[in-house]
């Protein structure tokens, strides 16, 4: 058998239903995460469309307050927890092992577990919408409104437990990504040769690890107040409603940077490829990412300027909120410099990056205005803030993401997306976005608060709201175009080669889509732009085993080969453990006993997961005799 055939058999992806549930391969799980996250994006987008229909005219009766409150809550919750963070982690799961030259992600079974936990959490939230018991107290779920006294029933409990689902999934992936980036890099990939996208995923992962415990604490306190009578937030018994806000926003502010920083990595990748030049200011860009990550933890009180906290403290948070604009500014300047000196190819991914700069900088500047306490006290909790965060989240994260979709679609599927449709798609989305969200600045300045299901006819808000709603129509069309382009390209698009864009990072150094073993020969890296600086007699890693899932482990700082480790194959136990975990989480919404009782099946599943050679491992392993015929890849 050739090397390729052996590797194909060793790193097999199992088939069938049982196989689908057992796969522990990063590309498969990455694709699943991406598709699922996009599905949630569309669902939440539809909810936004319903909101815009309701708000198109004053005193509208399309949605009553109860349904509207559920819709805006689920829109925000689903976008933030089930789309934005998972989709960025998903890009990391798929791309990072390829970009660093590894055969799989670290802790692949944990990866599978995290996907199923994420999926179950999302399904739970969608089910609550269909059963008229969706959370209805905002994606931020402030107490006492979300507490036991003012939200009876289980609505707020579903919100709090959704947090637990998504945080467990996100934390698991963050640990995997850190371990992959630090320990599984190709030989020769020193720290200062890591692609900027990988740096951005690294910073994001650290932020996830330090930020999410705060919201798990806050939401668990809420669950306990509601379920077992604790008094964390009850002012009558020594608790404090503001405690919830501190815990939530200590997570909530880093959360938006968790979403935004990987997008910055995508921007750097796209600019490098579409100017065909090394990016300007690599070191400055890395330091800016790290600085943003750190400073992002020191801003959270700017969400609480109206709560009556002491003035001096508030001014510190003004300063911090303004300081974080500096690393962002540095990045924008470096990218403009890159575009200046390179030779831009105005294809769809670059258009979305240009759109990102135009939209995000405006959003960042409106953020600077919000950092000012006196001004914030006027526009806090108005549509001005809604405009701001959609500018920074859609402009700053979704536009680069869509550019990334157009960019990496050939690698993931082996087909090119239609560039002409892509250009039109960009124009529709760009225009639609600005028509929808720019008037909201005006609405907020005219006094329109947030989270209102309707508004009076004589406030002067009618025109801006109508314009926003019409813009939303354009966004729907743009979204439909994107789906159309993805589907038709997947089925009938032009075949992409290994490296259709002539890009520089390692994922483009293997087939499109990559084989199950990622690289026939694990690459060795000789420079920061691996493929551009690859010499003719480029070294490759040899001596690795072809008959078991062996991976090379390298040194953290300089990528020196250090030792080898064997990766596990497909196993059913991560899926089973995820199901038991979900049962326990959902059960604990209804009774505290679900926790001690529910832990037992989880423990059993985990024990079988880690027990070597337990039944349920190596599902779908090919027989010793069968040798699938695979073309050996010419080097």
């Amino acid at each position: 058998m050739t090397d390729a055939e052996l590797l194909e058999r060793t790193w097999y992806v199992p088939r069938g239903v049982l196989g689908w549930l057992s796969v522990a391969d990063h590309r498969t799980i990455g694709k699943r995460y991406l598709v699922t996250a996009f599905a949630f994006f569309l669902f939440a987008g539809v909810l936004a469309g319903l909101m815009r229909i309701q708000l198109a005219v004053p005193n509208n009766r399309f949605l009553g307050p109860d349904l509207y409150n559920q819709i805006f809550t689920v829109h925000g919750t689903m976008m933030m927890f089930l789309f934005a963070v998972p989709v960025m982690e998903a890009m990391g799961i798929y791309l990072v092992p390829l970009m660093v030259g590894a055969r799989n992600i670290a802790f692949p079974r944990l990866n599978t577990y995290s996907y199923f936990v994420f999926l179950c959490g999302g399904v739970m939230l969608v089910a609550t919408m269909l059963l008229n018991t969706a959370p209805d107290v905002g994606w931020f779920s402030y107490v006492p409104l979300a507490g036991p006294d003012y939200t009876p029933g289980k609505r707020a409990d579903f919100w709090a437990q959704l947090i637990t689902f998504t945080e467990v999934a996100a934390l698991a992936v963050a640990v995997e990504l850190v371990a992959t980036i630090f320990k599984l890099r190709a030989p020769g990939m020193t720290l200062n040769r890591i692609p900027l996208f990988v740096w951005s995923i690294l910073v994001m992962s650290f932020m996830v690890i330090f930020a999410m415990p705060a919201v798990v604490t806050g939401s668990s306190f809420l669950l306990m107040d509601r379920l077992v009578g604790t008094h964390f937030y009850n002012p009558a018994e020594g608790g404090d409603p503001l405690l919830f806000q501190h815990l939530f926003w200590f997570f909530g502010h880093p959360e938006v940077y968790i979403i935004f920083i990987p997008a910055l990595g995508m921007v750097s990748s796209i600019i490098t490829t579409f100017t065909q030049r090394p990016i300007f200011g690599y070191t400055a860009l890395v330091l800016a990412l790290i600085a943003t990550g750190f400073i992002g933890f020191g801003l959270w009180v700017h969400h609480m300027f109206a709560t009556g906290l002491p003035q001096l403290g508030l001014h510190y948070f003004t300063a911090a909120s303004i300081v974080i604009a500096i690393p962002s500014g540095v990045q924008i300047f470096c990218w403009i410099a890159s575009l200046w000196r390179g030779r831009p190819r105005f294809e769809t991914p670059l258009l979305f990056v240009i759109g990102f700069i135009i939209i995000f900088v405006l959003g960042g500047l409106s953020g600077v205005t919000l950092a000012s306490v006196p001004f914030d006290l006027q526009v806090h909790d108005t549509y001005y803030v809604v405009a701001h965060f959609h500018y920074v989240l859609i402009g700053g994260a979704v536009f680069p993401l869509i550019g990334g979709v157009y960019y990496w679609f050939p690698k993931i599927t082996g087909r090119m997306m239609d560039n002409t449709v892509g250009i039109v798609n960009f124009v529709v989305l760009f225009v639609g976005f600005n028509v929808t969200f720019f008037p909201m600045h005006q609405a907020g300045l005219m006094g329109m608060p947030r989270r209102v299901y309707t508004y009076p006819a004589d406030m002067g808000w009618n025109t801006v709201n109508l314009i926003s709603s019409l813009g939303a129509l354009l966004l729907v069309i743009g979204g439909a175009m994107l789906i159309y382009n993805m589907v038709t390209s997947y089925l009938w698009g032009a075949v992409a080669g290994d490296n259709p864009w002539n890009a520089d990072t390692l994922e483009w150094g293997t087939t499109s889509p990559p084989p199950v073993y990622n690289f026939l020969y694990p690459p060795v890296v000789e420079g920061r732009h691996a493929l551009w600086e690859r010499t003719a007699a480029a070294p490759v890693v040899t001596g690795g085993r072809l008959d078991c899932r062996e991976c090379l482990v390298t040194d953290v700082m300089d990528g020196e080969p250090s030792n080898k480790t064997e990766f596990p194959g497909p196993t059913i136990w991560p899926f089973v453990a995820a199901i038991f975990t979900s049962i326990m989480f959902i059960g604990s919404i209804f009774t505290a006993w679900a926790v001690p009782i529910g832990t037992v099946p989880i423990a059993i599943a985990l024990i079988l997961w880690f027990w070597p050679h337990a039944p349920g491992h190596d599902i779908g392993a090919p027989e010793e005799e069968s040798t699938p015929v695979v073309e050996a890849r010419a080097s």
Binding site: D3, L6, A106, F107, L110, L171, A174, V175, V178, A179, F182, K183, L184, P187, I209, F210, M212, P213, A214, V216, T217, F221, M224, V228, T230, F232, E237, G238, G239, D240, L243, L247, F250, Y521, V524, A537, A538, P539, V540, V541, T542, G543, G544, R545, L546, D547, L552, V553, P561, S562, N563, K564, T565, E566, A603, I607, F610, P612, H613, S635
Partner: protein, 206 residues
């Protein structure tokens, strides 16, 4: 054992002689364990900060309740610190691939762990506060329950590891698991110190 050979015309970085396992931060398991510890440690930090945030908002602490009794908590502290010894010796034995010593010290760890859980059970009865009395009671129970969950998890997974070292198959990888498991035990013992001080002495000193 089939290894990938070099290809003509390309230099080779040959990894066939590299070790198949690595203890500590050279290996992957360490990173997973440390990652988990950082996450859980951050949660402990959040809960401790919350305890003191709520403490500073009132004059009397605990509010109209008695301080927790010291006996079982202090016993727990002493037994925990002692339990670090068999844990450490198990770790050293694992790094030397010495199976019988590993088996011996791991069994001792499990026994210590069970003892700690029993003591913890008694502790809960002498806290002199219920979780639903007031915010103080909620915080005390939160700290204690959080630590107990970790303690119980560690006892169970040490138990499973011990069983594995007896039933086999015992590969070099198992010895790495024993060594990294030791890290988790340290985590639990070391975090008990600030939690113990907070639960038992913050009411007395602050």
């Amino acid at each position: 054992m089939i290894r990938q050979r070099a290809i003509a015309g390309h230099r080779s970085v040959d990894i066939s002689e590299l070790p198949d396992n690595a203890f500590g931060h050279q290996g992957l398991v360490w990173w997973g364990t440390i990652g988990f510890m950082v996450i859980e440690g951050s949660m402990f930090v959040m809960v401790l900060i919350t305890y003191f945030y709520l403490r500073l908002r009132v004059n009397e602490w605990p509010p109209s309740l008695r301080d927790p009794d010291l006996f079982y908590g202090t016993l727990n502290l002493i037994v925990s610190l002692v339990s670090a010894l068999p844990n450490h010796l198990a770790k050293i034995a694992a790094e030397k691939y010495s199976l019988t010593r590993v088996q011996f010290w791991l069994v001792l760890c499990v026994l210590f762990g069970v003892a700690l859980l029993v003591i913890r059970g008694f502790e809960f009865t002498t806290l002199n506060a219920r979780w639903d009395d007031n915010a103080y009671g909620s915080m005390v129970w939160c700290l204690m329950v959080l630590h107990t969950i970790h303690l119980a998890t560690d006892v169970v997974d040490t138990g499973v590891l011990t069983a594995l070292m007896f039933t086999g198959p015992v590969t070099k990888k198992r010895f790495i698991d024993v060594s990294e498991n030791g890290l988790y035990w340290y985590f639990i013992v070391l975090w008990w110190i600030p939690i113990y001080l907070t639960v038992y002495f913050a009411p007395r000193w602050l």
